[in-house]
């Protein structure tokens, strides 16, 4: 969008005076631009440059070792974790909690979200409840969760479930609300049954919003993982990070945080794949 826009400036000035001439002039192409080009190598370069600067800063003593450990130390902690076999125990325990909590939370969230989107009674009854409970910090309820769900897997899964449920409800009903009414009216004109309209028009139409809700709820689930593993967790990435914090072992702390980031990238990639598949009708 750079040079195409500068040409019409002079053309417009001429056009005011000599209209006849202007009609004969070729119209320059004004489209294009505002499109992202894929620049594959940029992201890794930025990432590596930051790591290199950080490493140099740590080695030279510019970054104090009580403020931040060198990335090589954090990597060393990660290697220790992998060679001791604990990495899989921690990752496995966390993935299980994430998977069960997020899946249940999302399924319930979509169900309630659809109900709120489709039925006036559900909307009147449930929406205020969702609004009231969504902002309650789940971490504040941890002592209660211990009593309700125990200190086993129950309270950890429940923390993630509650964390993902509410954003999914909101994303889903907002998606249902935004489905093109003309499409619904068209379906009605063609005599589709209510169920067919929901299945073939409303759910696919709300899918983009639901999937972008998934991106948010999956990130919230990872954030809540650390909170969930505060309660009696022996293994798990969150438990590992908390332990490292309590021992002030900063290399392990950064290693744990890096694991969470990688987990976030993987989930985002998976959701990207799901978007391509489920939203293929949009292209």
């Amino acid at each position: 969008m750079s040079h195409e826009t500068t040409v019409p400036e002079t053309a417009r000035a001429d056009a005011v005076g000599t209209r006849d001439e202007a009609t004969l002039r070729p119209v320059p192409f004004r489209g294009g631009g505002f499109v992202h080009r894929p620049l594959g190598p940029v992201a890794p370069i930025v990432f590596l440059a930051i790591l290199a600067l950080w490493e140099i800063g740590s080695r030279s003593g510019f970054i104090s070792q009580i403020a931040l450990p060198a990335p090589s130390e954090a990597f060393g902690a990660l290697v220790d974790l992998a060679t001791s076999g604990m990495l899989w125990k921690h990752v496995g325990a966390s993935l299980y909690r994430l998977f069960v909590g997020w899946t249940l939370g999302s399924l319930l969230g979509i169900a309630v979200g659809l109900a709120v989107g489709l039925f006036s009674l559900a909307r009147a009854g449930l929406l205020p409840l969702v609004s009231a409970l969504f902002p309650v910090p789940k971490i504040a309820l941890l002592p209660l969760f211990i009593i309700w769900f125990g200190i086993g897997e129950g309270s950890k899964v429940a923390t993630i479930l509650f964390g993902t449920f509410f954003p999914t409800v909101i994303a889903t009903y907002a998606g249902v609300d935004n489905v093109d009414r003309n499409l619904i009216r068209m379906g009605q004109s063609f005599g589709l049954s209510w169920l067919s309209i929901v299945r073939k028009i409303i759910v696919p139409g709300a899918m983009p919003a639901i999937l972008s809700g998934f991106r948010i709820s999956a990130s919230i689930a990872i954030v809540l993982l650390v909170a969930a593993e505060m309660i009696g967790a022996e293994f798990g990435i969150g438990a590992y990070i908390l332990m490292a914090g309590a021992l002030f072992a900063l290399d392990q702390l950064i290693a744990g945080v890096a694991l969470l980031s990688v987990l976030g990238l993987c989930i985002s990639w998976l959701i990207g794949k799901a978007e391509k598949r489920l939203l293929s009708w949009r292209a």
């Binding site: 941890l142 002592p143 200190i151 009696g232 022996e234 309590a246 021992l247 002030f248 072992a249």
Partner: protein, 338 residues
């Protein structure tokens, strides 16, 4: 976090020295970290009674929720002195050369009621009536490398079963451990008497033993400061400890030995109430402050044997770097040791 390198410290120390020579009458300002526990009362008493002012110190208290952030704040230079249990975090920071233990505080002594081992009613009914029966049971701790972790393992060691056979449940905070114990989610815990007392009065929790039977002369908490203070401002550290020692003497006389007059004790409880249990009216807080006070070492005497035993335990569990030595952890030049 604000990082505090030696170089910047040197600059500040120089600036401080210049300021000192120009304005010699200004009292030194220090920040003292406290937790809302009665064991932190000595510095509060010393401040309220003017013992710090006598030492030409202007004290500001900074409240923390847990020992770990306090240790980090001392390392960063935001807080000058603190008093907490020896935790893995504190030792790691000492290994990095930023903080040092300079004195002893709370200690288990034979004649005063000390920390208790308590179990849930369900566990008690199931036969856990002595600490020996804790084998294969769950034990609540706040975090890995906390004093609770140490106590649990010391019980296992003395009762002769493997440390792994006492199942530790990290629950992060004391209230969470209490909730888990009351509801029977965990079997056992060990805690200072002023928390254990109210718990065992209820029907859900039963006392089964004392920590003093498992750990000799347990130095529960210590006084610590930044290495920069211990090495560069020895005069300041000595003055702080002198003021603190008078506070400790008053605390012991008022709450442990109860050798003061009732009026004086009430006055001291009122001072403590400004910072501890301050969310409750004084008539409710008063018994809680008085109950189960444990002795704090006169003149902040430090039990080196106990500190060494704790350090060895941390090393044996691989919770702290291998290379840490007693010299790195403790500066013995300020108080008497035993």
């Amino acid at each position: 976090m604000f990082s505090f390198s030696r170089r910047t410290f040197g600059v500040l120390a120089f600036a401080g020295a210049v300021a000192f020579t120009t304005g010699a009458f200004a009292a030194d300002k220090i920040n003292v970290g406290i937790l809302s526990l009665t064991s932190h009362s000595p510095s509060i008493i010393a401040e309220a009674k003017g013992y710090f002012t006598e030492q030409d110190l202007e004290v500001e208290f900074i409240s923390f929720q847990a020992a770990q952030p306090m240790a980090v704040a001392i390392a960063s230079g935001d807080v000058d002195f603190g008093m907490t249990a020896i935790s893995g975090g504190l030792i790691s920071l000492a290994d990095k050369g930023v903080i040092k233990i300079i004195g002893g505080a709370l200690q288990e002594t034979p004649e005063i009621e000390g920390q208790k081992i308590i179990v849930s009613k369900a566990a008690h009914d199931a036969g856990v009536t002595t600490p020996a029966a804790l084998k294969g049971r769950s034990f609540g701790i706040t975090t890995t490398g906390s004093s609770f972790h140490y106590m649990a393992h010391k019980i296992a060691d003395k009762e002769g079963f493997d440390r792994a056979e006492i199942h530790l449940k990290p629950l992060q905070k004391v209230p969470a451990v209490i909730a888990a114990l009351k509801s029977g989610q965990i079997d056992a815990w060990s805690i200072v008497p002023n928390i254990a007392g109210p718990l065992t009065k209820g029907p859900e929790v039963v006392e089964i033993g004392k920590i003093a039977d498992y750990i000799d002369n347990y130095q529960v908490t210590t006084v610590f400061t930044s290495t920069a203070n211990a090495e560069g401002k020895q005069e300041l550290v000595k003055r702080f400890l002198a003021g603190l020692s008078r506070g400790i003497a008053d605390y012991n006389a008022a709450l442990v030995d109860k050798s003061m007059s009732e009026e004086d004790i009430a006055a001291i409880v009122a001072m403590i109430h400004k910072y501890i249990y301050s969310d409750q009216p004084i008539d409710k807080a008063d018994p809680r402050i008085r109950a189960g006070a444990m002795r704090i070492n006169e003149n902040a005497v430090l039990s080196l044997a106990s500190v060494e035993d704790q350090l060895e335990w941390f090393k044996s569990e691989g919770l702290v770097p291998e290379g840490i030595t007693m010299d790195k952890l403790v500066d013995t030049s300020f108080v008497e040791t035993r």
